[in-house]
Symmetry: C2
Subunit: 121 residues, 2 copies
Amino acid sequence: MAKRKETSTNHINREKISGVCGVAHAIDILAGRWKLFILYKLVNRTLRFSELKEHIPNITDRMLTLHLQELEAEGLVSRTVYAEVPPRVEYSLTEIAARLIPVWDQLNEWGHQHRNSRLQR
Amino acid sequence: MAKRKETSTNHINREKISGVCGVAHAIDILAGRWKLFILYKLVNRTLRFSELKEHIPNITDRMLTLHLQELEAEGLVSRTVYAEVPPRVEYSLTEIAARLIPVWDQLNEWGHQHRNSRLQR
DNA sequence: TATGCAACACACAAAATTGTAAGTAATGGC
DNA sequence: GCCATTACTTACAATTTTGTGTGTTGCATA
């Protein structure tokens, strides 16, 4: 999550695969532990750092910060800083992140189907 | 990938999140480095271990084995062993994995859109 | 002057994933 | 007997992700 070693085989494989396949690329940038949770909370509303923290049980400052930074770097979340003390920073979805929402619905249904199918064993 | 420590905070958070959210669950089981590649290669056909290896550049025996085992454990891939020597093992998609395909198409398009939008910076 | 707040940063540790480099088993052909 | 073949396994190392705990900043209020 922090810095990645750009010469590692791992990194090279990652780039090569998600450079070719859109699905792999999408999953790659959505796969952090808390990322979907964060994005989901931001659907249709803007929240500040502390509000996200309240909405997401068990997340720590550090994890929220890291994931928000990556989401911002990937252009999925926009960050607005207000020059106040104590600081106020607001996060919201970008346009391209919002375009994910209809896909989510289907993936969500598939996920539930899959989970249910496993419970029957 | 090997064994996970079931008492770790990480593991508990994973379970809690993907137990509630279908998307998180889906992404969780699809997020291995080579998983999508493997699944993609199996669409509409059955392949044996060595064929998969040929189709997927740079993958190692170990990675292919591990990912196939997880995919099988998640019910996305079915494994058929033929009692021959040298061994022959064939892999194919399960019905629930096949249900992913239409979702892939959309996620794929989103992934490409997102990647292109990044290139313009 | 001391304290609290919000949104981080930093150092470090633990856990999980990925990669590398060896084996291994059973059998048919030489 | 010796070797080649296929689908793995094992031991280990490197990398990446996640978690824990503490420190920082600048201003307002007590």
